[in-house]
Symmetry: C2
Subunit: 315 residues, 2 copies
Amino acid sequence: MGEFEIIASIRSLLGDPPGDVVIGPGDDCAVVRCGSSLLLLTDDAMVEDVHFTRALLDPRALGRRAASVAVSDIAAMGGTPRWLLASVGAPPGAGDALVELAAGLAERCAELGATLVGGNLTRSEALMISLSAAGTVDGEPLLRSTARPGDLVALTGPVGGAALGLELLMAGGGRDGAAASLARMWRDPPARVEAGQALLGIARAAIDVSDGLLQDLGHVMQASDVGARIELGNLPLPSGYDDLAPADEPLAPALAGGEDYELLVAIPRDRVENASCDLTVCGAFTEPDAGLVLVHEDGTEEKADPRGWDHFGGS
Amino acid sequence: MGEFEIIASIRSLLGDPPGDVVIGPGDDCAVVRCGSSLLLLTDDAMVEDVHFTRALLDPRALGRRAASVAVSDIAAMGGTPRWLLASVGAPPGAGDALVELAAGLAERCAELGATLVGGNLTRSEALMISLSAAGTVDGEPLLRSTARPGDLVALTGPVGGAALGLELLMAGGGRDGAAASLARMWRDPPARVEAGQALLGIARAAIDVSDGLLQDLGHVMQASDVGARIELGNLPLPSGYDDLAPADEPLAPALAGGEDYELLVAIPRDRVENASCDLTVCGAFTEPDAGLVLVHEDGTEEKADPRGWDHFGGS
């Protein structure tokens, strides 16, 4: 079974949630009713030698990155990150590294307006961190399931930088100039909290680009039962991307790389002007039977499958 | 650095939390203010070959146990468990085991009145699960820091069964009679949600017995700045314990074993009658300079250090 099949099996065994659960598994966060507030709950894990190596990410940078990744799911719903818990596994003797990791976590939480309120330490072979984050939302959260045909596809920032930057780092580069700034996109990603909040009541649906643009777009298409057309010439790419992208498949990092943590939103055409955050329109949602169509710069069209990296053995 | 030194270093770098954080790191749960409600937040991790082996705990039993352990921290504050998130790491090919794990989690959550609302899957060498749990509390939560000299030390149930049961299981036993019921105490522990709620407004302080009775008592002593006297003859021990305990140190599993997940509470003498849950009084809190005193059945007294298992290399 691949990751998404496992998740589908688990979801089907969970059945219908009780009334205090507004949104159960399957969106960026769970949404639950806590008194008169809506609470957003999410978690994310990073494991050494799966998601990072210590050569690429020192403990402080790992802490910063983990905080951004966890908070990004709250940003994708238009929420306000509030409280984080860290669950950390480490080999014996990792004491100093763990204190650095916590310092990075706390520093990035403070930048994002959130607080590290607790956690636990345990022994494990590989260094690993699982962060859970809770936030509140001031209005109706942005879901994956509410895009409609005719809505535009827009991004809050460039995609492909993180994957390309990681590739450069792994090849021993990423130290100077444009390559270093791409490497930083992987190492210290954004969490688009302000953009998400600015899009509440304006965008119709949102997701953060974590698995890869096409795969995350596919999550929205599936949840909303819509198709999509992407104008490849309009994709926002980071500065330096064109020079450093792989010659054989220059758009692969942007389309399938993931880990950019920009928001991909569905927004009605007449509301784009109302958004007070950066937005680049790069396509439109369509009727579901149209599937996913990529429009090349020369106008040719290509049917595509949403794809990306499947942790449990897919493509 | 040992586990508690690392935690102390991390706490000191975190500084004072903002006003919406009522209780930060250091108690069973973090307590935060969410609208007009108090929210309890906690997480716990279990790692294969550190906390369990697959021979001792099949995936479904692991899911049940993880849910109990996470919820126990909410029980220790007198809270109502509401929502859980699971962060699971597993080797490729573990699909069926992961679905079983989720089934065990969901089943135990339902028994405890909580809902599994989300989570994430990642690849890792060892099977590991980190659960975060959120709950609410109907009144002032029970803390570790509010015991007073003169309060009695009481337990909601027997201690030592889990550690002794695990020892029997690891020696290839634990299959029949009293040994099987001890093994079950480790494999499928309680989470004393109803007892915790019954003690709200009655007990003065509480903690769940996870690290070991003396170590957890030590946490309360340190947080509350009190001493304690434990009457060893009054410790509640599970049925079969006396016959199966190690001959050289028969009380070691009860005093240092941990993982019983009963609640250890500080309760004023005149309120014991008001508690509508099982309680066994086995000592009293004292002035701080008295430290920890163990009173043997023959009346002899022994000064002791709170101790237990330190994941990062202590005793």
